[in-house]
């Protein structure tokens, strides 16, 4: 049985797709067969960030509608043969995503994969709700600003009440915080919320802080997930995130910017 991870936020542009690509690659690099699914019907861009846009023939909706098999639609990543991408459709209507159909595809993938990463669209509408419905773990991607924190809080409410686990009275989805696009200088100057500010509102287990970094844009332009750029801080931060998720203890870094780490361990509920 695969573990299903949803990367979600409520707000758009916070780094969900960047994160989905990075952690899916990280998990695959660590030896786990991983599939990453783009739930953002109409705004396909996971395949761009993973540099496989020219190999897209069939998509998620085709599989749901039975117009293609899963094997026909899955694209094997060029950098790691344990990573597969199921792209979103750019042309179809969002209504093509159905709970029954998504459940069927996830069930089939579960037989063959260890991790399934669901890249959620923004908002709290159908696509986002379906992306999280079947999840076991949630990576809540949040930027250090009030509106993003508020949207994440809203998303957490939905995670705890509208998921399959909630409906079946099973153990709740495990929720993790990923603070992204974190700019230590702007935090210091008070332009952005600090980690403490964010945690005061969300109080979640912190999986990592991803610094704002130019390397993210160049990585996505090159179609290579930033986690493969070992020199970049964002890449290193994502590598930490994957290691922590897999159970390794690593101190948090990049909180104070360029100079040194702060070894305070945040995150509440263990």
């Amino acid at each position: 049985m695969a573990r299903i991870i949803v990367v979600t936020s409520g707000k758009g542009g916070v780094g969900k797709t960047t994160t989905s690509a990075a952690i899916a690659m990280g998990l695959a690099k660590a030896g786990h067969k991983t599939a990453v699914i783009d739930f953002d019907v109409g705004l396909r861009n996971l395949d761009l960030i993973l540099g496989c846009e020219r190999r897209v023939v069939y998509d998620f909706i085709n599989v749901i509608n039975g117009e293609a098999s899963l094997n026909q639609a899955l694209i094997r990543d060029k950098n790691c043969n344990l990573l597969y991408i199921l792209p979103a459709s750019q042309t179809r209507d969002k209504d093509a995503l159905t709970e029954e159909g998504v459940g069927r595809v996830l069930d089939e993938l579960s037989k063959d994969f260890e991790y399934i990463v669901c890249d959620s669209p923004a908002g709290i509408e159908k696509g986002a709700n379906l992306a999280l419905y079947f999840a076991d773990d949630a990576f809540v991607v949040t930027n250090p600003e009030v509106s993003s924190v508020r949207d994440s809080d809203r998303m957490l409410g939905i995670l705890s009440s509208k998921s399959r686990r909630a409906e079946r009275n099973e153990d709740p989805i495990k929720e993790y915080l990923l603070l992204t696009r974190y700019d230590a200088d702007r935090v210091k100057s008070g332009e952005m919320l600090s980690l403490e500010d964010v945690q005061e509102i969300l109080s979640l287990e912190l999986l990592g802080i991803i610094p704002e970094s130019k390397s993210v844009l160049s990585a996505s332009n090159a179609g290579i997930p930033v986690i493969l750029d070992e020199k970049s801080e964002a890449g290193q931060a994502y590598a930490d995130v994957v290691a922590r998720y897999l159970g390794e203890k690593r101190p948090h870094r990049f909180i104070d910017g360029k100079h040194g780490f702060l070894r305070r361990l945040f995150g509440g509920r263990k």
Partner: protein, 251 residues
């Protein structure tokens, strides 16, 4: 083509209605017991929607005419809005009366009538909330149990308790907690808290860290703008005195 505004929109929401669990098909006994309840809390029951739960009755193989019970309830001022646990015949009757058939499990508040063996004369008022059991606050006599919530209450979530509400985790901005009795929040309260929502002016709100968007007791309210700096972010109790909300630090 121009986009015309839509004629309507669907949103999901929750609708609170007490559940009437019947343990007898004796119409006279039902009417008498209901009348006693109404006398206890006329405000609470006036025009109240009601879900009729027939599971227990059907377990006892006591047949009940659904049309008859509906008429009785309407006559004494209830609005039956749903049936659950009915048999085929009862569901069919419900359909002809345009009363929806509810298949959802435990949820909402229940009024228990004619509790089989235990107390026939003075049946208890009980409630089945999701996380715990909480009797309806039939003020002031009825014993009140509390609803306990241990999960954080996030923006967009709503909690309703028919008795007291005790919350151990934070209540986020954009969340709403409501109780017919008292509200205790042993954590930070950032959302909206409404105690005594059925008019109980003796209800109070207690919280460890007051940063609420709105607080209300029996309809009298203050918004965050009216909360004074002194009590902000402090442990407080809030109560009504001559229709004025008093916020007092707990030393």
């Amino acid at each position: 083509m121009l986009n015309t505004p839509p004629a309507l929109e669907f949103k999901s929401s929750t609708f609170f209605a007490p559940i009437l669990i019947l343990y007898t098909h004796d119409m006279v006994a039902i009417e008498q017991t209901l009348q006693e309840k109404i006398n206890l809390a006329p405000e609470f029951f006036r025009d109240s929607p009601l879900i009729i739960d027939l599971r227990e009755l059907n377990k006892l193989n006591q047949d009940l005419d659904f049309v008859q019970i509906t008429q009785l309830l309407r006559r004494i001022g209830f609005f039956p809005v749903g049936i659950r646990g009915g048999n085929e015949q009862q569901n069919k009757q419900a359909r002809t009366l345009s009363i929806p058939i509810d298949t959802v499990r435990e949820q909402g508040n229940s009024i228990t009538i004619g509790e089989a063996q235990k107390q026939e004369a003075a049946p208890e008022v009980t409630a089945a909330a999701k996380e715990s059991i909480s009797p309806i606050a039939a003020p002031p006599q009825a014993p009140v149990a509390a609803t306990l919530v241990t999960q954080p209450i996030r923006s967009g979530q709503r909690i309703y308790a028919s008795g007291d509400l005790i919350i151990l985790s934070q209540v986020s901005a954009g969340a709403e907690i409501m109780a017919e009795g008292n509200i205790h929040v042993y954590n930070t309260l950032r959302g909206r808290a409404l105690a005594g929502v059925h008019g109980n002016t003796a209800a109070r709100i207690f919280c460890f860290d007051l940063q609420a968007e709105l607080i209300s007791i029996a309809g009298d309210y203050k918004t965050s703008e009216d909360l004074n700096k002194q009590t902000y972010k402090n442990p407080v109790q809030i109560y009504l005195q001559n229709h004025a909300l008093i916020i007092k630090e707990i030393a």
